[in-house]
Subunit: 214 residues, 2 copies
DNA sequence: AAATTCGATATACATAATGTATAGTCAATC
DNA sequence: GATTGACTATACATTATGTATATCGAATTT
């Protein structure tokens, strides 16, 4: 006879709660320790569950890291990107986008450790890269709106890739030594403005907007 | 009685040769596999020695990685930096420096894997960071020569840190998707030019040198 | 009320990696 | 010929991920 299966509200609620507890414990561990010392044993103990429970919930270390990443993304303010992209002025939208990502990179120091984890787990790295592709698409869209009709495809790609690199986590982390989040933000915004200059055509050099000054 | 110790030319020569063989095997392994699959077992077998020999020569996994990094640095063309720094025109020196580093980052793909290793080994990361400080000092020296007297300390720091980030390996790797080494080099050079603009004072905007175009 | 299902636990095991310890091998040097 | 030093052989301790099996206990179904 077929087994009778059922869904239990109380069960799923409890499971969801432990899942949250594990993610929270994992985030805390990532914040406190380096990725080298991030073990499922540590996380499980910090969450007050068994290591096997972590496997039940996330399948693997990689699954846990992805869950943490998604949790941070949910609470990191990236939802504001939708509004930013619909702004009338694409340059203002770019500034806003830089601001949103600076806020995202700085909000939870665990994101840095997650980027470290990309080095040792190629599949996790791929997962993070896919999530970053949204940023690249966003930049591409804005560049297409900013670029004049005479701008070559080459110039567009250059601008997109430069701005993508400038708004990446490694760049943010590098510039964060001795700077507040807002200072980094202004610096990156200025660098992005400079990266737009070639899109405007040779005639519009030196209009001020292309300068690095905020 | 004290043990009579001696130095043996033949012995040290043979040891130096096996050391080279291990480093070579480690470089090859780093080129072929991800850092996650970089184990002393693999390297030892590839070099035709025992794992214990690796420990005898390098003390630890970290010691081996540092030896590989130094070996790559020796053959990576960084010695050209000395000449570049003494060029009369500091802007030309900066261009040359970007060129030298693009060559360095692209010469041996093992450098990418070594940067990955920074994530899991904090002490190795510190060692690599110290070696990168030479680049930062070089940039600082050039900026001081380029900056006008009116340039604020803030503006100098901004330019130094931006150029340091632009010439870093992560930026190079990010821009390398779909670009040749030379194309990346020209793009980074242009971005560095743009980063210099604020140093020249507000009056010299739009002189062309500050544009992103090569 | 009894049977069952599901999340979590307990325990054990396989595998791989770093690192340490000890004894042994063999050619180079004294 | 005795000894030294680089390398080997073997073994062991530790830590981590991941898998397998049996069990407990509470929520749900019949």
């Amino acid at each position: 006879m077929p087994p009778r299966s059922y869904v239990s509200p109380a069960r799923s609620a409890a499971a969801a709660e432990t899942r949250e507890r594990v993610i929270e414990a994992a985030s805390r561990t990532l914040r406190d320790e380096s990725i080298a010392r991030f073990s499922l044993d540590t996380v499980a103990k910090a969450a007050g569950v068994t290591r096997l429970t972590v496997y039940n919930q996330f399948g693997s270390r990689r699954g846990l890291l992805e869950a943490v990443f998604d949790e941070i993304a949910r609470h990191g303010g990236l939802h504001q990107l939708a509004d930013a992209m619909t702004m009338a002025d694409p340059r203002a939208a770019l500034d806003r986008m830089v601001e949103i990502f600076c806020g995202f990179w700085s909000r939870d120091s665990a994101v840095g450790r997650l980027h470290d984890a990309m080095a040792t787990d190629p599949e996790f790295a791929e997962a993070v890269r896919e999530r970053n592709e949204r940023r690249r698409r966003g930049v591409t869209g804005l560049i297409d709106r900013i670029a004049g009709k005479s701008a070559s495809q080459q110039a567009r790609s250059d601008a997109v890739d430069l701005i993508f690199a400038l708004t990446s986590y490694p760049t943010f982390a590098s510039l964060s030594a001795g700077r507040s989040k807002d200072e980094v933000c202004r610096l990156v915004q200025a660098a992005c403005h400079a990266a737009l200059a070639p899109l405007l055509g040779p005639s519009s050099r030196g209009t001020g907007e292309a300068s690095l000054e905020g």
